[in-house]
């Protein structure tokens, strides 16, 4: 590069040629690696997704990916439409809709906490959560995956839509340990309030966006096998 001007001994044509040849070799290597791994990677991602969804919706047998937009819902394709919210529909062996799963993300103590939650359309409640990724303090923040009292919050967490179907009737809210009174509140883990709040915020943000788009079109998901 800059040295080249200082030492004109090597003709630039030679340098360009060498770099050109190298780039070609490298290009071929990269593209073939990409092509060869494309399928296994996709398969891996699918397995990981299924595992995450099955964990929050027990008894589910298959998963389908959808995008919800203001225009309705459609199976997720290669191109994600503007403003789309991704969600997953889980079906049981017979092909009946078992539940809906979606991802929410909130800023935790150390980094973003991403959770997968299960939504039961019939009862309009959240029926379970699983952590997709987090870097919270071991022993404190990671109690959100193990603390039985905390997980009990998500047996039937109320996410009913308001009458106009534009937002949740009651925003999901994390309250301090031991003061949960309403079905839409999450009782925080004592000592891990920041992480508990991250879960609540993540679910609320995602549900507020997804459910108004999803609920009017729920019938389209039935028998999706």
């Amino acid at each position: 590069m800059s040295e080249a001007t200082l030492q004109p001994a090597t003709p630039s044509a030679a340098m360009i040629r060498t770099l050109g040849i190298l780039s070609t070799i490298c290009g071929v290597l990269i593209v073939s690696a990409y092509q060869i791994t494309l399928e296994p990677v996709a398969a891996n991602k699918k397995i990981a997704l299924e595992r995450a969804v099955f964990k929050v919706i027990p008894g589910a047998h298959s998963v389908k990916e959808f995008d919800a937009t203001s225009a309705g819902i459609q199976p997720a394709g290669a191109i994600v439409p503007e403003g789309a919210v991704k969600f997953y529909a889980a079906y049981d062996q017979a092909g009946a809709l078992k539940g809906i799963a979606a991802e929410g993300a909130g800023k935790g103590y150390a980094d973003t906490v991403r959770v997968m939650y299960a939504y039961d359309p019939a009862r309009q409640v959240i029926t379970g959560i699983g952590v997709v990724s987090m870097r919270e303090t071991p022993g404190i923040g990671d109690k959100i995956t193990t603390d039985p009292a905390f997980l009990k919050n998500f047996v039937a967490l109320d996410v009913k839509l308001a009458a106009d179907l534009k937002a949740l009737a009651n925003a999901v809210k994390t309250v301090k340990h031991g003061s949960k009174q309403n079905a839409w509140e999450i009782d925080a883990i004592s000592g891990a309030t920041v992480t508990s709040k991250a879960v609540g915020k993540g679910i609320n943000a995602s549900a507020q966006k997804l459910l108004p788009l999803l609920v009017p079109h729920l019938d389209k998901l039935q028998g999706g096998k």
Binding site: M1, S2, C26, I30, V31, A33, Y34, A105, K107, G108, Y109, A110, D111, T112, T193, V194, K197, A198, A205
Partner: protein, 194 residues
């Protein structure tokens, strides 16, 4: 992500400090932190290059995504960062010889600073908007500078100390880095908007 700019700034500078919490840019951190008067220019130069790299990476990511060639992302990042550093070097040489003399010797070192590539990779992974990315880069650079300058201060002070023989050298620097990292844990949660 919907992090506000101030949250990103505080988090990258303090609670998720590049060097002390994310282990980015350790080689220059340990290598150039011996003296205060070189630590500051090094920090400034790195911050500048990180910002330039972040800018390039943002444009490049847009291009690579538009062309649907994500598999070329890494290789194009590293190539453009290396060339950007070269360009900055040449540009400084031409336009501001004083600044060049102050920063010049550090610039080649910065090419292999993983903080520079790290910024590019993290801002891509977190899908930051343009302003978010620039804030991230600036905060990261300042955080790097802060850690570097603090470390240099401590190391200068310890030059007078009777440090036991077995603790000399890199081990001592790592101990100090560990202590700083421990102290920076106090900032955890700052910038999480809790």
């Amino acid at each position: 992500m919907h992090d506000s700019l101030s949250q990103i700034f505080i988090a990258t500078m303090l609670s998720n400090n590049f060097v002390l919490a994310m282990f980015l840019g350790l080689c220059p951190f340990l290598g150039v932190s011996g003296k205060l008067n070189t630590a500051l220019p090094m920090g400034a130069a790195t911050t500048f290059v990180i910002m330039v790299a972040s800018l390039c990476a943002f444009g490049l990511n847009w291009l690579v995504t538009a062309l649907d060639m994500q598999y070329l992302r890494l290789i194009s990042y590293i190539v453009i960062i290396a060339s950007a550093v070269q360009l900055v070097e040449m540009f400084l040489k031409k336009t501001s010889p004083v600044l060049f003399r102050a920063l010049g010797i550090y610039l080649p070192l910065i090419t292999t600073n993983c903080a520079v590539l790290g910024v590019a990779l993290f801002q891509t992974a977190r899908e930051y908007s343009f302003l978010q990315a620039m804030t991230f880069a600036f905060g990261g650079g300042l955080g790097f500078t802060l850690a570097l300058v603090m470390m240099a201060g401590l190391r200068e002070r310890l030059r007078l100390a009777i440090v036991p023989n077995v603790v000399q050298g890199t081990a001592l620097s790592l101990m100090l880095a560990g202590l700083l990292s421990l102290a920076f844990m106090g900032f955890a949660g700052l910038g999480s908007g809790g």
